[in-house]
Symmetry: D3
Subunit: 282 residues, 6 copies
């Protein structure tokens, strides 16, 4: 008899033959406000049975793709450096094996682990960053490693002109001032995304999606729901362009499922995960 295997919807390929690897990074140890993003990956897997493998948006079906679901990394709470190291090691192996990947957070800081591997692998890496928050703080209560400093940390790895931020509508004043000099920030919405896609064609791109870029009406299942965000349709329209880019890896983070009793936020995350998987699988 078979054991009980739990994967995201239809992601049942073996690792060796897979094009894309899905895995979870259930860490929320630097979350300063409402924790719970650690429950994101398992919620997305569990609830994925509520949606279909077929997308009428792009007319493709997950059952036609070869995706391996690696489960969740086992990450120790209370030791942030070690968590990032474990994420880096795992993604480094994936990149070495020529796998594209989708990492399910967890809080936004998990991105830094993946970026540490990706910047070692790719020279001219660009980042596309969808978020409500600038995440450009230099520290949070004295700590340099935090969900609210992650893009500043990314900038330290990548340098000026490589980070393309969209949907930003919250942050300290100095973060917005920093962005004017060092990143390419598109405030409030995704209106200019198509143009950025055109500019980045052919270059290696890491895509980091903080789901709170969505309006809190669509996505309240997160630690700091933010009104004034993009609609599901606006986000979906942007995602449908991802296949035009060379996405080498991406992450979907900050679902904190318990804050949305209706499970609507998790359903949103499931659909977005499906669409991203369909976009980056060739």
């Amino acid at each position: 008899m078979d054991k009980n295997t739990q994967t995201f919807l239809a992601c049942t390929a073996e690792y060796e033959v897979s094009d894309v690897v899905l895995f979870g990074a259930p860490f929320d140890g630097t979350t300063s406000f409402r924790p719970g993003a650690r429950f994101g990956p398992s919620a997305i897997r569990c609830e994925s049975i509520g949606i279909e493998t077929y997308s009428p948006y792009c007319d493709r079906d997950l059952t036609d793709c070869r995706i391996f679901d690696g489960g969740d990394l086992q990450l120790p709470f209370g030791n942030t450096q070690k968590v990032l190291e474990l994420i880096k090691r795992y993604t480094a192996k994936l990149l070495g094996d020529q796998k594209r990947f989708v990492m399910l957070g967890g809080e936004h800081l998990v991105t830094l682990g993946a970026l540490r591997a990706a910047t070692e692998h790719y020279r001219d890496l660009h980042i596309i960053h969808f978020d409500a928050h600038a995440d450009l703080r230099t520290d949070y209560l004295g700590e340099e490693l935090s969900h609210s400093t992650v893009i500043y940390q990314a900038w330290k790895l990548l340098g000026d002109g490589k980070i393309h931020q969209f949907g930003i509508r919250s942050g300290e004043k100095y973060e917005f001032e920093f962005a004017e000099e060092h990143t390419i920030m598109h405030k409030f919405d995704l209106g200019t995304f198509s143009k950025t896609v055109g500019q980045l064609k052919g270059k290696p791109v890491y895509f980091t999606l903080d789901l709170d870029v969505l309006d809190s009406s669509v996505f309240c299942g997160t630690g700091t729901p933010e009104a004034g965000g993009v609609t599901f349709k606006e986000l979906m329209d942007a995602l449908l362009e991802l296949h035009k880019l060379d996405i080498i890896g991406c992450d979907i983070n900050e679902l904190s499922p318990h804050y949305d009793q209706s499970a609507g936020s998790t359903a949103v995350a499931c659909k977005i995960t499906r669409e991203i998987l369909l976009q980056i699988t060739k």
Copy 2:
């Protein structure tokens, strides 16, 4: 002293003098994912005291209408065929007595009971179907009677070209292919509804409204909340055209009130019930 009578807002007419009959079909026995639509009808009645009898949308008042609230059918769980038979019998009596009706689900399969009566009564019956899901599966885990097969079952009763689907954004690939040949499907939104209204004028129409056609931001109190749907205003604009049609019966289904702790979804269902009652009462 009077007993405690509970009706939907102002639906206090006696059966004999009523134009329209409201009743509940509290069944969710084939729901495959999150059950609870059985609690829909009673929630809609209870919460209806939170809204007004007057609609500023159509400038009409429920107190000027003659509507009988028949309470809920008593439906046995675990026996799907019998449930459908009980619904059919009840609606057959209403049709025989020249009553229009609004059935409050319950899961979407309850529609089939009403349709079995309606198709015996009306030859050239058309169906208008608002939903997030195509509901055109031939079976679900081997079962032909399911919330996800109900429109396929309707098609077996009515044949090609009679089913007008709007707002559909989820389904298996083969459902969309089936729709291309056998139903008239308008994907994603209600943009083309006015045109359909024009085409169906004068014909008997059954209107089935799966409330998950609404975006999950507006309506998360349902078993499978679906992002990417229509806004409340878009739905309301469509409903305000219903009086142009000869609606012989309709249903409003898939409210599962417990999943929306704020009761906002139930409030949405109450308003929609009020508007539909105002539209179909002459």
Copy 3:
């Protein structure tokens, strides 16, 4: 050692040097449906640490303002007249001390206490009223003092042509008829707000914001969530015009935080409070 002082985000000025005073009126004693607005002010203070002091919308920072947070009034439940008297006395003192103020409700009736003081202070006072409900009932179950009669009571103080209502989409028929003769009502949305701003320049204005003017998708944390309302962006666009007016006082009411488990509604209220504070602080 310092005691534990709790204020809204950065509202730490002393009373004497402050331009603006923030205070709470935690009363919901006439709420006829779902109570809980009494918990609004403390929720807004607590959750304000989840947002930033800087607004990218108007490029201003709360840390540059002088705002005193006076805490909550202690209001006895069960004695509506006394509650209104206590609110009146407090606001009268603020007006006497040349302070602008933001009162956090509580239910909408708290507005009447503030208006009783404001109309004694200002002759040609106008009211801007954002709400889903007309609030023009003459009584509720025989009671003249109620959340649903508050604007009718305001009219008794102010007379015709002084009350500018926006976003109204619910009410008894006679309320809408009353509005046609005695107030200036803009139904359903805020589309015409800019024009009203132009007309009221230079006049003293009291602004009363019932948060249920927002669509229930954005703001379900309230006693009677109302679909069909304005989006957060539409409300924000209107608020960004407030600095053009001479706002002598305002209130933000009807947040009932427990109905929105995700705390998204409270986050909305926090952001709106920040923006209003930034708008009315010179």
Copy 4:
């Protein structure tokens, strides 16, 4: 066709032939902390379908009793005096018609309305009071009519030595001192209840049950859940003695159903209501 009549389980007798009348007093207007007891009566009716008519505790069946369910009184919020007057009038009629009654609160103050009628009808009336709180305050924030003053108010009607309090474990110091002189208080539990029953045989007794006498583990669905209370079995054992007394009326109050998402507290209230009805029906 019949209208939708909603009664407590099997309480379907007509008024004229009934021995006992059940009715609701959905008022919580003086609740100082967490409101919601207004939803108690309707929750008890709705959820009563989840229990059986038969009690294995006393081997009796509700279907053998003649009980009329009068529905809920319509009580205006914001006017405490009027609420008490409406309750008094209704119970006075019941007493005049020789009906015993069970009033479902609502907050504890509703008891005062019933007592005002009962003390006019019966000379030597005694009160049995089960509660976590002494409810002997002279005022609350200056208000004499409050859920926390109700037994003090009862004492003003009845005088010394008539009020038998059980289970009390919370109160101001002066309340306990007052009790030592004016009431008969049994702190913490119901251990001495049998003895009191012996003493009161043959005398008219009003029984007021604040459900928070139960330990908060059994009954958390109330505004101020109180640990350290009696178990369900201890309460049930006491209730099974009620038939030995001449209970002329009673109330069951302070269920606030929304605070117990599991509906367990409402189920407790339903069972207790059933047992009390069986005990006082001859």
Copy 5:
């Protein structure tokens, strides 16, 4: 790389070498009141990581046992007969392979499927039944297959004197009368359980545990929480005797996890599952 395998705590043995098989029967299709027991098995697996493999109660450790977790059966909603057939087939295979088993419900009717297999395998089978409800109805709204008829159905398979019921405190009057003649019912508690254990030594026993035998204070995460039940310690004391019996199979049913937001009920179910596994594993 390994796939994501989800088992109950430490139940990682292969089927072939296992002594005991754990599996889920996620069906709640005849639940008449509040559905959700279908989510029981997955909740128990997920939450099992919150408890330890070691039991200080019996000083044994799950890591020393050989238990196979077979995952959940895939059961179609809406077809009760087929569901029972699928359960019967699965348990028949287990019995044929000399495996003891623990089935996680699901509603209580799932027991019938297992019993249909067990009675074919064992002649002198006895049933130990812990429950709040007698479950001896002959039908429910005309349906013979229901959670409330399951022990009556068991009696039809087994005959008089084979069913030992404990903790029963709810039922129709006729159910209690039936029990007096045909089953061995111990009302209200488990006080006499030790004696029954003595009587059944050496005989094949099927143990069915409806978790609502627990007091609703301990276990509110179920469709019909029942006050007046046994404490966790009383239940645990009984379970610690199970190793004296020849338990050939058992089930643990009626956890409906969503009704207990604190997850305390699921934690109770996890501990009980651990203890039962430790008891029946030799």
Copy 6:
């Protein structure tokens, strides 16, 4: 005008004249399962207005005590060592100023910070530890600083025979074995507490109370609710003996308020905080 000061019920003394200091340590950064204990201190303060200052259990009143509420420490998430250092520094100052203290957690690891200060101050320090869990792990996923290792860490500071554990009912096998040699563990309940009190008279004692020592029926608002624990009355009886000891400091930890929607768990924590304050204030 005064600012809004928030203290625990009646803890309004100035620091200089206070006997006892209350403060919060809102940290849950090593919580491995369900986080949220960071919200404990603020919940206890907010909800303390729902209980009285007077205790009928010990007939004392908080208004007669001199207690300073120092608010919450500001602790950075993601850096466990620094958090412990900040707690140590604060408690060291209190000890230096001859203040007894009550620290409100947060997770159980916060105890270690206080102990690091206390062991520098007192030679023959003993610890009384009430808990469901042994907390004697040597590490958790490789981390030595964790809520589940805290008593092992305490043992490293204090040595054998100084740690008195009560109520323990969960742990790895090796933790129980460790306890047999190095601590004094009383499993399952508090039955032997009086004897320990007798033994420790006159010695400096640190009291650490993990609230999950309570049965999960009484206290479900915690990350890992544990059935089989002590009742509220059993805990209260033990607490009422504390005044016989020389408690130099204590902590009350692991309230995670959001998991108990009814706020009953927070009310339990408030009452326990009141009783402990009354016990340790001379």
